[in-house]
Symmetry: C2
Subunit: 327 residues, 2 copies
């Protein structure tokens, strides 16, 4: 009889902490979600431990042995030490999360960047299934990246590689969250699209676009996309600009990695129809021909809100040594 083992995977983000109990082959057994308690380091860690403990209890009820825990954390991670160096969105610095989890839960734990575990899941179960080299781009409020080389995550010397949101594509351009100017993230993320829309609204106070702002002065990208699809010229222009920037970033990654696939995921892919034409123009202009012709740019094939947590559970499976390793 096969051993009934499973892993716990967690996705720790700025707003929520999701967890799954996963059997091999991506079979979801249980799920759990809480708001990330952002008030302090202790509250964030407390939330993580809570989710793990609840999922462990359910595993026991189901007769499953939990072999390991994987965590995808929104921040800079020293993977080999399981250390959260710091998080831009949470009050966390120098947190030895691997040690904390292993001590409290008495099982192996592995901590990686959230964008990395998403890329791993895409590589095994999604649009990167059949390829050796893949660049995975998460287009959301920010831009995250994961790079798969020879079917393995590439992490660099301490684990902070693939910070593709912070490659500068327009030196001296708009200020990024990170403090630099002209980052890919500052030009093509959901936040960048909203910023451009707000600038256009301010410059054209009587335009239909200006009326899309809510009471707090925000401008929702989904609303903006509806306006663009109805032909609003200001809204359309913003997507053309962001689309071109998206293409510049993708072309840079094609020139660097010559990957078989570039996979786009995240909320901004919902408006990809508005971005795609100019994105392709930039890729054609910038990506060198042999690399361009050997790459396909596709969207994620993974569905569901637990993708990050499932990727983290997959990481734990592969690193625990308790599951068959894919070729």
């Amino acid at each position: 009889m096969e051993p009934k083992i499973a892993t716990i995977g967690l996705d720790v983000g700025g707003t929520k902490t999701s967890g799954v109990l996963l059997s091999p082959e991506d079979v979801l057994r249980e799920r759990e979600r809480i708001p990330t308690k952002r008030s302090s380091r202790e509250s964030v860690v407390g939330g993580i431990l809570d989710v793990c403990e609840r999922l462990s209890e359910r595993a026991e009820v189901l007769g499953l042995e939990v072999a390991a825990i994987g965590v995808g954390f929104a921040g800079f991670i020293d993977f080999s030490q399981g250390l959260v160096i710091y998080s831009p969105n949470l009050p966390i610095e120098d947190l030895r999360l691997k040690d904390v989890l292993e001590e409290r839960l008495s099982m192996p734990a592995f901590v990686d960047n959230d964008a990395n575990v998403a890329a791993l899941a895409e590589s095994r179960w999604g649009a990167g299934r059949s390829v050796e080299h893949m660049v995975h781009i998460t287009l959301g409020t920010g831009i995250g990246g994961g790079v798969i080389i020879d079917r393995q995550l590439y992490r660099g010397c301490i684990g902070t590689a693939a910070e593709i949101g912070h490659i500068v594509i327009s030196a001296g351009g708009p200020l990024c969250f990170c403090g630099a100017r002209g980052c890919f993230e500052a030009m093509a993320s959901g936040t960048a699209i909203e910023r451009m829309a707000l600038e256009a609204a301010t410059a054209n106070p009587d335009s239909p676009l200006a009326r899309l702002r809510d009471r707090k002065g925000h401008l929702d990208v989904q609303l903006l996309s509806e306006a663009a699809r109805e032909g609003d010229p200001l809204a359309l222009d913003i997507f053309l600009q962001a689309g071109y920037s998206l293409g510049v970033g993708i072309a840079n990654l094609i020139n660097i990695f010559n990957p078989e696939r570039v996979v786009l995921s995240g909320g901004v892919t919902n408006v990809l129809d508005l971005l795609e034409e100019r994105m392709q123009v930039a890729v054609k202009e910038i990506a060198v021909k042999p690399s361009r012709e050997s790459t396909r740019i596709v969207t994620s094939e993974l569905q569901g809100e637990e993708v990050g947590a499932r990727g983290a559970a997959l990481l734990a499976m592969e690193l625990s040594g308790r599951f068959p390793v894919p070729e």
Copy 2:
């Protein structure tokens, strides 16, 4: 008695074709150099075969068995097929150079990009000796790159990865040789420095800088650097600009690869003293802190004009299976 074996390495560039006969541990036994005969595809190949045959004859005289041939070629290479897809500087397209060499010389041949073999040499014998992950940047008339991951060259899916000269760092910026705008190469190469100097000379026709132009209208980077060191403000400003762009490109690569080392080589490193301060400013602004703190930016430790050919000979050694492979 140890078998006395050696490899032949060739560096085929736009102006010259260099060859070496190399024993293990980088012991140079013979060298050969001819101008690259650029008139036709046949003349380029003829030159390559000539150099190989002359070096083979010398090997025989020395009692050495040639185990394999390696070629570093200035162009886009499909490494697995040993195919020169095309060369920007030579009349070559779709040349199955590996097949041609193996047929004519009856020994294994390996063909790679010239920047890749230079990176390989640096990884084994130079500034990258002790590290797993390294980015090698050749700063000359253009900007070439080679990426070492886990001590091996990273080539991507068909072999055209690491085209780091053509990552766009300033979208819409100056026109690059490749047809795109704002490439790293168009902002920080020797050619870019000369272009900026010529623009400054045109804008300031009575300046000392304007008098540095030769009769053909060229402006030598070495002369420009002397003017800058003597305090010429226009000349200094050009190096400040190019230095910043160099830092942007390096920071992007640090964010992507989190390498232990970034190694700078090529002619432009002769003026690195003028570029370095602003380069470091850009790196500090753009490279994320954990990656920046785990990377050292250094210059090449390899000397001599045959570095490229020695790298190609090393490639042949490692791939021939006839020499002990380094750990």
